[in-house]
Symmetry: D2
Subunit: 343 residues, 4 copies
């Protein structure tokens, strides 16, 4: 951590800062520049609160040198983490496809989709039972009943299931769920993260709409600091000024996360764009960029009562997408192998 | 709601959309343009899911005409809502100042600050017991003990207290708290909002870092749809590309919210800027823009053990700020009265 | 265009609006909703100034239905535009790679890189002669001399050249340049765009850091409305809150632009990320997403005098990248052909 | 400047970096941390290109300690700059109001507004002759004729005039203009800035829609480095995800700029919000926050032929706004004087 002092700073206050740091086993190296004095804090600064130091009267600015996360940090864990979900390995160089409906709506709907995506080659089944909706008047999901149906679909197909938790009080219902998803709006629900860190379930942690990658890794750190290291990160688009897509999918997150962390990272092209016909090109791009997995929404033809023709990605379209994505993934895999050999 | 159809749309699918709308008591007016056909949906469209319609193959775009919130909407409630907190009226034309420490640290600290801000003129006491922190290694607040100390300070000074809830499971501890704060990161914690809607406590709802004003009002709607209409909105800065301040305080939110909604809106200049010396100018600006209140962090001199000189806004500086803000608020009040008379 | 009226609007003012629209040959269809009256403007509304209408006292909001661009709009020009640059076709289904140094520094540097990227397979040569730099104290490019060197490199290798114009007054120097680049900071330099619309040179138009895709297309429209339809669009990253990369590369721009417009779109992964080791994964992703081209910075080993080891992407690394990108592009091409056949 | 080295960096390359720095008269202090080696560069680093150093293989990150601007930097010029425009002092503690129409439309319109805003108390007249418009089909201003009319209005009223330049080629027409405005879209038109630095005219430099305050100051530095120190900065809203206002007015720019720089800063509430009824509250807020001036659009009643009732801020409303803003400015002035006395 680098502390830049104000010009003409009070020496007494500087001594006080030195004593405070010493009490935390932090050494200080002083660099006297032409216009500025700069302090280098040497030691384990991950516990030092940069904001507290920035608030000091003698301090102009504080800059972190060391990342504030440790367990999620590749520097301290050079090898890739592979999360094993009932035998499906996320992070080991294969592209895993998680597919299923946005919301669980009925047994018929879910089982039909589950069997169809399995036939196409998907290795995990997703489906929303608890649905975070901006409006209190919108459909909020089948909740506990939705979890039941997911477990039935799991039995039917053998696919491990991924579904979202919205509140700590729902945790009991997730006993047989294979991967617990934490949604973008809950990425900094710290009480929830801390509690999930005490379970041994794989956690699919989605990036918040306005969260930096560092904040995403800090939220992973919350879970990991409790003892649960099975964290799968998910890029799902960030909020920007552009309104042509619902969010802006930040695919540079993939190589960046792989550099900063050993955790696997997957991509959700469905929520990021909010436009069904953009799911395929973004899925192809994510595979080429080196994602460890994709999470794709698949809908069957909705009942006539709702509306003919409402559809995100039909099973048939998903089947085509799957083949195309795998063709790209195959090339990417060869590139990675070739690179490993040449290193 | 306006639905723009694709050129050469399928008429059968259009009929299906018509029948669906009819089943929801929504009438459709059709406008045939040169290049486009536009449908106007007439009726109570607040329950229509725009995303479902946008997903239809025949639809190019959907635009809302009516706001999706009702209880928070000024159109249906023209008069200002005044939230009464033990006699302190928020929203009635007076500027209320909520002050206190960021975190409750000890009885001595809290009581000293509480008495001091009361002497300056603050009408509510704030203090964090549960602290949402980006890092799992940072101080997480005194939690239940912090609530206890706040209640003691309330008894001592008579000031009603405002403090943040982080999870539903903490709700019991808030029985004697006067205003429950929902932090920016929990603005879309819908399970929490729904439950708070079943209480009769005033709720201080902070705008999320990447939330639009419409989303803020939708979150207020969650609380209000449960029956609790005592919602106080709070602008605390949004996340933008600018890094010179922690967040960008969006003061245009004040006149905009007052136009869209009848709910009171206050401003938190401390968190928005993250820089103590910017609190005063932003507090003055908020008062001039017509805010119903301010929430200001006040620190006493922290113990030597921590670090001499760490300080956000000392009681002495707060006292000066209070007088200055009130001088601006006085002018603003005269402007508002003059405007009312001339209308 | 849809005009939403205020409740209780003045009928006289509404009549005045009707007369104004009539004078512009615009018809008005009125839809009377429960709480709102909505006007549909029918006719060529691309010349109607939405802001003027929005400013009317009786108007609550205005929403565009028709895109404000015509010449760049795919609706009116369904077939892809192919820009022919001395025989190199941009937009025809092949992935073209534009490569070269960020700045032209010397004859030796430029020619060495030009020959090397040509040998790898690049089809156009880029190089900056006029350099927009944030700081007045930074190197501003070789300017006219740089253009001379580019023309020499063109003669040497036969590669058409792409270089950036910064001001109208430089236009004469670009007489033998093959593609004139308009940088992100000049995307809304309307005087420059208008003048370039009077030339017959292909224009490479980069998206501004905070420009929506609609604004990018409106800037293309400026050039095209002058008669020059040879516009190549370029996504190069937008400014967001994320600071881990210099900008956020918005790859969803590729499928979106292809839907909205017939113009070719290429991607600049070097400027977007600002990090050499991220150029390759983002180039692969862009190729998979369907880009018509890539523009890649290639540096030779800089002179020892500057600093050993300064390097963005060396010719050797570019050569490897080229092969990998082409392998992805090949798969993408097969996907596109298969899709065309099945449609 | 702080350079953070990668773990296991190559010592030869480090020596090379040392020699390079030495050649620029920069000393290096080395701090050896637990996990990281950090170099402090001591000397005049404003000419060191941080991006070049960041590109080195041995470097993990570079952080600036010293601001990259000098002439605009308050550290080197502690006293406020006061720009004198024909006797009107901008920056000297008084709030100056610049008012006039968005576009110059006719002699009658301009003179009527000019006399009216002068009568209200405005001290400068604004009016657009060259208009940057997103659409090539929108009205582009009266151009040279508009400048003529502004000069007539100046003769008539004695008010100095402010108007926007869009391209270097227009500079001759600005010989008698008092303040040359550089619009937000041209804030990084470096050729234009450099040329304006060779004039002796006051320059009103508007912040770009996606420009940081540091970039704004760097653009001021372009002008100042040419010898023209009469730069007036202008906050006019930045682009964020919020769509309820056209842009987000960043009022914290006022105290921040005053801390970082000695240049005066004014605020444009009209363009920031894009909503006439929000101009007054934002103008009041800007005055309270300590702005040196405001630039306000005033329209007369537009001709019936255009549309009755189109109005941004009428002369009558401007007159009321002026009095209210001055009442706030008066309180702010007392606060500043009181603060000066107590320091």
């Amino acid at each position: 951590m680098i502390v830049i002092l104000k010009q003409n700073h009070n020496e007494e206050q500087l001594d006080s800062l030195r004593r405070w740091m010493k009490s935390m086993d932090i050494d200080i190296h002083t660099s006297q520049g032409m216009n500025q004095t700069v302090l280098g804090l040497i030691g384990d600064t991950s516990q030092v609160d940069a904001d507290l130091i920035r608030a000091l009267e003698i301090v102009e600015d504080v800059k972190r040198v060391q990342e504030p996360y440790k367990k999620a940090n590749r520097k301290f864990h050079p090898d890739d983490t592979v999360v094993d979900v009932n035998g499906v390995k996320i992070g080991g160089g294969e592209l895993q496809i998680i597919a299923g409906p946005c919301s669980v709506e009925s047994r018929g709907q879910l089982c039909m989709i589950a069997e169809s995506v399995k036939a196409s080659g998907a290795t995990l089944l997703r489906g929303g039972a608890f649905k975070p909706r901006t409006s209190p008047y919108a459909f909020q999901g089948m909740r506990a009943d939705g979890i039941e149906l997911l477990l039935e679909a799991k039995k039917l197909t053998g696919l491990p299931i991924v579904t979202e938790i919205m509140d700590l009080s729902q945790l009991e219902l997730f006993a047989d769920v294979d991967v617990i998803q934490v949604g973008a709006r809950n990425m900094q629900n710290f009480e929830l993260l801390r509690r999930l860190g005490q379970t041994d379930k794989p956690i699919l942690l989605k990036r918040g709409l306005s969260s930096t990658l560092e904040e995403l890794l800090m939220s992973a750190e919350y879970i990991m600091s409790g003892g649960n290291e099975k964290v799968i990160l998910c890029e799902r688009g960030i909020r920007t000024f552009e309104t042509a897509t619902r969010n802006t999918l930040d695919l540079s997150a993939i190589p960046l996360i792989k550099e900063l962390s050993h955790l696997p990272i997957i991509v959700d092209p469905s929520h990021a764009t909010g436009i069904a016909r953009m799911v395929e090109p973004m899925a192809l791009a994510a595979a080429a960029a080196g994602a460890d997995g994709l999470i794709i929404e698949v809908h069957n033809d909705p009942p006539r009562a709702l509306c003919d023709g409402v559809q995100s990605l039909t099973p048939a379209k998903f089947d085509a997408l799957f083949k195309r994505v795998m063709a790209i993934a195959e090339v990417r895999k060869q590139i990675d192998q070739e690179r490993t050999v040449s290193t």
